[in-house]
C-alpha cells in the first residue's frame, strides 16, 4: 500500500514486513481521520507509548561496562563497530524522548496493518483519538497513567491502573523498578 497522501507524513519505514508512518505531531488527528475514512483502518488495535530516555547512552540494555575490566559494549575498543561479539554498537539515536505508536488494522482481505508513530518530548501533548476510535479511551488513559503522556482533548484523562493519588509514571525509564516511598507515622 502507498501512504503518500496521508496528511502530515514525515517518513515511511518498512521493517520486518511492517509499515511505520511517522507523522507530524500537530497533524495526527488529520492523519488518523484519513487512515480511517479513506484507507479503511477502522480498527485500532493498540496504543503503545515508549520511553527512549537513555537509549544507547550506556551501550545497549543489560550491559554494564565494569570500572576496571573491559567494556562489554565495545569488546574491540571504544567507538565503532569493530567488536568481535556481533552487535557491539550503539543503537541509532531517536528524535525525541517519547514515541507513541498507534497500531491500526483494516478488517479486509490480507489484513493490512500500519503503525502510526508520533514523537514528543516530556511536557508536550498529543491530540486524543477518542473521537476517531472510541476504543482509544482506556489505551490513552493507560498511556497517561504508566508513561505520563498527556492527551489533549481526552474526555476523562484519569489514572486507570495505578491509584488515583499515585506519584510518577511507572513505565518511564527514570522510574525505579523496585522500592516505593513509605510514609512513617512519626513523619510530619
Amino acid at each position: 500500500m502507498v501512504f503518500e497522501s496521508v496528511p502530515g507524513l514525515v517518513e515511511t519505514k518498512e521493517e520486518h514486513g511492517e509499515t511505520t508512518l511517522v507523522v507530524d505531531l500537530a497533524r495526527l488527528t488529520e492523519a488518523c481521520l484519513h487512515l480511517r475514512d479513506v484507507e479503511g483502518f477502522r480498527f485500532l488495535s493498540d496504543i503503545t507509548p515508549t520511553d527512549y530516555l537513555g537509549w544507547g547512552s550506556g551501550g545497549v540494555a543489560g550491559y554494564y561496562g565494569t570500572r576496571l575490566g573491559r567494556d562489554l559494549n565495545f569488546p574491540g575498543g571504544t567507538g565503532g563497530a569493530t567488536g568481535s561479539q556481533g552487535y557491539a554498537r550503539v543503537p541509532k539515536p531517536k528524535a525525541k524522548r517519547f514515541a507513541v505508536n498507534y497500531h491500526l488494522l483494516a478488517l479486509r482481505e490480507e489484513a493490512p496493518r500500519v503503525r502510526v508513530q508520533v514523537w514528543l518530548d516530556d511536557g508536550e501533548s498529543v491530540a486524543s483519538v477518542v473521537p476517531i476510535w472510541p476504543t482509544a479511551d482506556w489505551h490513552e488513559r493507560e498511556a497517561w497513567d504508566l508513561m505520563g503522556i498527556h492527551f489533549e482533548g481526552h474526555p476523562n484523562l484519569a489514572r486507570l491502573i495505578m491509584d488515583d493519588d499515585w506519584e510518577g509514571h511507572p513505565l518511564r525509564k527514570d522510574y525505579p523498578l523496585g522500592g516505593e516511598p513509605v510514609r512513617f507515622s512519626d513523619e510530619v
Binding site: 521493517e15 520486518h16 511492517e18 477502522r42 480498527f43 485500532l44 488495535s45 493498540d46 503503545t48 515508549t50 520511553d51 527512549y52 537509549w55 544507547g56 551501550g59 545497549v60 540494555a61 543489560g62 550491559y63 556481533g86 552487535y87 554498537r89 543503537p91 541509532k92 505508536n101 497500531h103 488494522l105 478488517l107 479486509r108 482481505e109 490480507e110 489484513a111 496493518r113 503503525r115 477518542v130 476510535w133 472510541p134 476504543t135 479511551d137 482506556w138 493507560e142 474526555p155 476523562n156 489514572r159 486507570l160 491502573i161 495505578m162 491509584d163 511507572p170 513505565l171 523498578l177
Partner: protein, 422 residues
Amino acid sequence: MAIVERPRIYEGTHIPSPIPTVLQVPEELRESENLLQVNFGPNHPSTHGVLRLVVDLNGEQVVGLRAVVGYLHTGFEKNMEAKTWWKAITYAPRIDYVAFQNNELVFVLAVEKLLGMETPEKARWMRTLLCELNRLHSHLVWLGTSALELGAISVFWYAFRERDLILDLFELVSGTRMHSRYFQVGGLAEDIPRGFYPECRRFVEWMPKAINDYEALLTRNEIWLERTVGLGVLSAEDAIALGQSGPVLRASGVDWDLRKNQPYLTYDEVDFDIPVYDEGDVYARYRVHMDEMRQSVRIVEQCLERLEGMQDAPWLTDDRKIVLPPREELHTSMESLIHHFKLVTEGFRVPEGDVYVAIESPRGELGCYIVSDGGPRPWRVKFRAPSFVALEATATCMRDALVADLIAIVGSLDTVMGEVDR
C-alpha cells in the same frame, strides 16, 4: 476470502458519549431519590478476578456504570525490561493465566520475528496443537464459571472435568500443568514425549461427546435462554469501534479471525470453520464459544496426525547463538559449554528494531509490541490484551440492562483480570 460485513442490527450507535467507557446517569434522573449507587466488586465471586463496577441503579435498572480496574497490576511489562529475552518468556503466560500458552506464543513469535528466525516444522505444528488445547481450556473455564454465575452448577463440574484432562496433557508434555514455558525462541523446550500421542488421541475422541453434554444441558435450556437471549447487545459497528475482537466480535456478526485472515503457525494448512452469529447478545457469545470448541478439537486432531508422522524430526532450531546446546554435549564439548555459559549468564542479543505481532488468543486479538536496542534485554514490551479492550464495552452492553443481567453480560465478555491490569 471476502470479509462479509453483515447488515447492522439496529440504527445508530449505543456507545455512550462523551466518554465511551462510562455510562452516565441521565440528566433528569440525577436528583431522583430512587437512585442507588452500588459497588460491585472488587471482591465478588462473579467478577472473574478483581473487577470493580460502580453501578447506579434506578430500581432494578442500570442507569450508570463505571468500571474500575488495576487491582491486579503487577508490572509485568516493567519487570520484563529488566530480564534477558529468554528469562522474560516466563512472564508472558502469567499475564493471562487462563490462556497461558497463547501468551507465551505471542512473545516468542515477536522475538523470533525480530531475530528473523525460522522454526522447525514440528515445532510449528506442536505450537498449533498446544494453542488449540489451550483455547479449549480457556473456553471450558469460561463456560464453567459463566454458567455457574447464572446458577447452572452442574456445567461447572463437567467443564472442569475436561479442563483437568487438558491440564494432564500439558503436564505430560512439559511437566507443569499451567505456565509451561514449553515454547521458547527457536522452537520447543523439549521433544514431545511418545506417550503424548495416544493420550491426546484419547482426549480428541472423548471431547466432542463432552461438548454434546454441555450443549444438552444449556443450549435449549429454558432458564439459560431466559438469562442470555437479547441481553448485552453489541452491534457490529459498535464492536469494531470499541476494538472488540475474538468471540465478542464474531458474536456481533463480523467474520474475523486472525487464524484465517492473517494465518500464523500452521493455521493455513488445517481445515476449520469460523463460527459467526449475528445477534450480538450473550447467547450468541455462548454459541460462538461452543462452536469454537468443536473447531479446536478438529484442529488438534489434524495436528496430531501430522505430528505422528514426524516423530524423529528436530523440534528446535540449531542456532547455537540463540538456543541452549543439548545437555549431554556439555560434558564432552568445550564449545557447547561456552555457549551454555554465555546464554545463561548474558542471554542472546536481539537486533535493534521494533515489531508488533498479533495472534488470535481465546479472547481475541492478542498483540505483542517489542522494542530492542540490540542488547540482551527488551527495551520495551507491551501486550495488547483483548480482555482489557473487552471491558471497555461494558458500558455499551449494559445500557438499559437490569442488575441481575449485569453478571451475565460481564461474564459473556470473557475477561481475565490478570491480562487487563498486567
